[in-house]
């Protein structure tokens, strides 16, 4: 497994991470052996996958300092703290309460793209309001 350089730095170099607003790095083990931090328990309870990196942010709005290619997430643009878990490769995301498919004029459901149960680029962000699971995130540096 290849860890993007930026995330490798986050995992291995707390000093650099601190400069990015990362207040706590939990492990210097190889990424494949990273155990989920208790602060992100709600992430582990929703996503099954290998953890690539996990870190705390003083302010949730700093998420793009750590994940510069992640698209915008307005709900994270707050001064409150956040804890971020980045999963590598494909990760399985549990129980999704998705919307029903469209109905045609006769009330029959219209086929749409199947909802996958595994996703790449899975990032879980825990804020005081709870966890949010992002998928298809570009986690490269």
């Amino acid at each position: 497994m290849t860890i993007p350089t930026r995330l490798r730095v986050l995992v291995l170099v707390p000093v650099v991470a601190g400069a990015l607003g990362v207040t706590a790095l939990l492990s210097r083990e190889p990424a494949a052996l990273l155990a989920l931090d208790p602060r992100a328990a709600e992430c582990g309870n929703s996503v099954q996958g290998q953890i690539q990196a996990q870190f705390a942010l003083d302010r949730a709005m700093e998420y793009r300092s750590a994940l510069p290619k992640m698209l915008r997430a307005p709900e994270l643009e707050t001064d409150g703290p956040a804890f971020v878990v980045v999963y590598s490769g494909e990760a399985q995301v549990g129980g999704l309460s998705v919307a029903p498919p469209p109905l045609d004029a006769s009330g029959n459901t219209v086929a749409r793209e199947p909802v996958p149960t595994t996703y790449s680029g899975v990032v879980c962000v825990v804020t005081p309001s709870g966890p949010t699971i992002y998928v298809n995130v570009d986690t490269s540096s």
Partner: protein, 257 residues
């Protein structure tokens, strides 16, 4: 990675077994379902209403626990009853919802699910919004089983998205978090697999009542007017039963084989 997954599943199975020995049967109330299907294919039963725009959906959910089938082999099962707004169904993630759920996910033990019994939840998602990251609509724990009927509201206001429980705002999202336009209300039940229950058992349907919608932000609320004895317009399987005893209420129940 496979070894890790196997160990993880063994640990979860052991934990589930331990919990099942400790938790009273009533907490994981079993119906007669066999939980045979494990493929995460969602089913729904209830009413959808589409208009050029929607801004709110509301209903009162009765004080009744939601059953889930008992199984050691089906790792994912859920029984939801809720109100929601969505984009018409074109994108599965585009939903904003709140209500009651009883769910178990032993392979992926969602914090909102395991060992919480019937509880209040909310969920939201975002898909295909230009420039915004996709969000998977995982159910989030909102409150314990209230033990009384409550009214659940999902609403888009001029300043934010809101979940209300009996008139009190409990969850919010910035307007900018959701780019999709709400066009449809959901007053429905949902399962994650076909052997899961939806609503109540035979003889004791789960009642969703006082169903209303708001078609425009800040506009007037209107009754759903499904028509007495109406047939629900969303039905995913013959075992899931739904009718509308009044123009604004739905009874949901499951006939298990």
């Amino acid at each position: 990675m496979e070894d890790s997954r196997v160990r993880w599943k063994i640990a979860i199975t052991a934990a589930t077994l331990a919990i099942s020995l400790l938790v009273p049967v009533a907490v994981l109330a079993a119906d007669t379902g066999t939980c045979a299907e494990t493929n995460f294919v969602n089913r729904w039963e209830g009413f959808l209403k589409s208009l050029p725009s929607m801004a709110g959906a509301e209903a009162t959910l009765e004080n009744q626990s939601l059953n889930i089938c008992s199984s050691s082999t089906d790792g994912s099962r859920a029984n939801h009853v809720y109100v929601a707004l969505d984009d018409g169904g074109a994108h599965a993630f585009n939903i904003f919802q709140a209500g009651l759920v009883n769910c178990v996910d032993t392979f992926l033990p969602n914090a909102s699910c395991n060992n919480n019994g019937t509880h209040e939840f909310w969920a939201w998602g975002r898909q295909s919004c230009p420039g915004l990251a996709d969000v998977a609509p995982n159910p989030k724990f909102m409150g314990a089983f209230p033990g009384s009927s409550r009214t659940y509201t999902v609403l888009k206001t001029s300043t934010q998205w809101q979940v209300k429980v009996s008139g009190t705002v409990t969850e919010t999202l910035p307007l900018a978090s959701i780019c999709w336009a709400p066009k449809r209300t959901e007053h429905t039940g949902e399962s994650w697999d076909i052997r899961d229950a939806i609503g109540g058992p035979v003889g004791n349907p789960f009642r969703l009542s006082n169903a209303t919608y708001e078609a425009s932000v800040g506009g007037a609320w209107s009754n759903m007017n499904w028509g007495t004895g109406g047939i629900c317009n969303l039905s995913s399987d013959a075992r899931y039963k739904c009718n509308a005893p009044t123009g604004t209420s739905i009874d949901l129940w499951t006939v298990q084989p």
